[in-house]
């Protein structure tokens, strides 16, 4: 314990607790930033001393410069916008289908036996093996890229499997309540199954969204004339390493942002949950 007597302006326990929490949060941020900052400093210093090949490994300041010029020209925003649009469409299409399949298969034992084996088989197909096929079928246009992302959302375990598992783990006792209250089939799904499975569905969504960005790069790098993946690929062929770095960093940041967005959604939608949130002082 700190000596609280030394600070006479303590606003009771709650005030000191809040201050303590802020302190801990600040400490955590500093701690998390320490390693990256140290690496950046060493990197910059090594570059300035001429120890690094500027073509293979440009210094952080060079990358920042590139970032600023790409932003100023609007090029970065354009590519990012296109990538985000593809990711969104792919997510809506694939996520919607994955959710529907998960609900359908989860709801009915018959459908499970009919569909699940096939879906499980398709799921194991490697993505890179499918991509050429999609390009053959749908060309280099938008369709093949969006379908690739959609496929990922449907079959990569999270969405479909988590929805399915979420539904199957709904408390049977609550089903009895639904029956006693004469819920229609539709109400059973919308008022009982979906809310009860929501924690699983959102977890699936979070994992799925993260992976979708990875798929997007692959899709854009395989053949495209726009998007962040194209930006990276194009820069690579001209040895503009700084641009490659900018592309990578943008991907990382956007990936983190979408993850945080889903997490926020999770926190809002699952307010009712009574689970262990972790001890913030540990």
């Amino acid at each position: 314990m700190e000596k609280t007597a030394a600070t006479p302006l303590v606003k009771g326990k709650a005030g000191s607790k809040r201050r303590r929490r802020n302190q801990i949060q600040l400490n955590n941020i500093l701690l998390a930033a320490a390693l990256p900052i140290a690496i950046l400093i060493i990197w910059e210093a090594a570059g300035a001393m001429g120890k690094l090949n500027p073509i293979l490994l440009p210094t952080p300041s060079k990358i920042l410069e590139e970032f600023v010029s790409l932003t100023a020209s609007g090029e970065l925003a354009r590519h990012l916008g296109i990538s985000a649009w593809r990711a969104l469409l792919g997510f809506l299409l694939g996520g919607g289908l994955g959710l529907a399949a998960g609900v359908w298969v989860g709801f009915s034992y018959k459908t499970e036996r009919l569909l699940d084996p096939t879906l499980q088989m398709l799921r194991t197909l490697p993505h890179l093996a499918i991509a050429p096929l999609f390009i053959l079928w749908f060309g280099f246009g938008e369709t093949s890229k969006i379908l690739l992302i959609a496929k990922r959302h449907i079959f990569y375990p999270p969405f479909y499997v988590n929805t399915f598992l979420g539904i199957r783990s709904v408390d049977g006792k609550l089903f009895d309540v639904g029956r006693v209250l004469q819920f229609s089939k539709w109400h059973m799904i919308t008022k009982l199954i979906i809310p009860a499975a929501m924690p699983n569905i959102l977890l699936g969504m979070r994992l799925s969204v993260g992976v979708a960005w990875l798929v997007l790069v692959v899709a854009e790098m395989m053949g495209s004339s726009s998007g962040i993946g194209f930006l990276i690929n194009d820069a690579r062929s001209f040895s503009l390493t700084a641009v490659v770095f900018v592309g990578i960093i943008v991907f990382a940041v956007v990936g983190k942002l979408t993850d945080s967005l889903v997490k926020l959604l999770e926190r809002r939608l699952l307010r009712w949950q009574d689970s262990y949130k972790g001890d913030e002082t540990l």
């Binding site: 609550l174 006693v180 009860a196």
Partner: protein
């Protein structure tokens, strides 16, 4: 003479298992008058919960006759409210939304009824709370309100206060009697608590296990509100207890009456 709301005749229910068939209910016969308060009491495995589920329409695998208002039971319906042993609230819904169930609170009629029920079960101020914020007794009151929303003619209660502490239980018994006297809902109340059975009922149905059947039906001719400490109450309690002891004696044969 009031009309019989519920008529049960020659009711049998058998559970099949690999180890052989177990008769859960055998030749049950019971007539319940409109607005009557019946408690069903008996040791575990006597089939009292099974009987309640059949009346609720949750179990239709029986033989015999079960009539509600002269009509055979065809599954759950709005005339029959059911209160489970546990509150079984939807944890993602607030108290008022749990009471409304699948009806919309935007409907002014539903809104008014929910508000009325919240007051009736004494939960004013907790309308927007989530179930995790409620105590066991409060949660069970929400489930009572939920069952009352559709004005059921019959309320089926399956050991609803079994998991609560003595004070909460006594309080909820009062709440329930309050509701009964206001609405004249026919009550079918399963319990294993002797005091509770005598305190609430106009008639106590004593059941016997293996196979589950009705041993006897005792009328409780005490005016409401009842006083547990009164001599007449204690006398009736003793009478039920003595029936109970007769029930327990032959129950020492083989042990495959699965706890139902």
């Amino acid at each position: 003479m009031a009309a019989d709301t519920l008529v049960i005749e020659r009711l049998n229910r058998t559970f099949s298992s690999p180890a052989g068939d177990v008769a859960a209910l055998s030749n049950i016969g019971l007539k319940v008058k409109k607005g009557e308060f019946i408690t069903l009491i008996g040791p575990s495995g006597c089939g009292k919960s099974t009987l309640l589920k059949i009346v609720a329409g949750l179990d239709s695998d029986y033989s015999g006759t079960v009539l509600l208002n002269d009509k055979p039971i065809e599954g759950p319906s709005i005339e029959k409210g059911f209160i489970f042993q546990e509150p079984r609230l939807f944890p993602w819904l607030t108290v008022e939304k749990n009471i409304a169930g699948n009806l919309s609170l935007k409907d002014p009629k539903v809104r008014a009824k929910v508000d009325e029920l919240v007051a009736l079960v004494r939960l004013k101020g907790f309308e927007k709370s989530y179930p995790r914020e409620l105590s066991g007794g409060m949660a069970q009151r929400v489930s009572i309100a939920r069952a009352l929303l559709r004005n059921p003619e019959v309320l089926l209660l399956d050991e609803p206060f079994g998991a609560l502490d003595a004070f909460t239980r006594a309080h909820l018994q009062e709440v329930l009697l309050d509701i009964w006297q206001k609405n004249r809902t026919t009550m079918l109340f399963v319990t294993h608590d002797l005091d509770e059975a005598v305190f609430l009922a106009e008639r106590v149905v004593i059941m016997n296990p293996r196979p589950g059947h009705i041993r006897t039906v005792l009328p409780i001719d005490l005016p409401f509100p009842r006083k547990r400490a009164s001599q007449s109450f204690q006398e009736l309690r003793r009478k039920v207890l003595s029936e109970f002891e007769k029930v327990e004696e032959p129950a020492v044969d083989h042990d495959h009456g699965a706890g139902i």
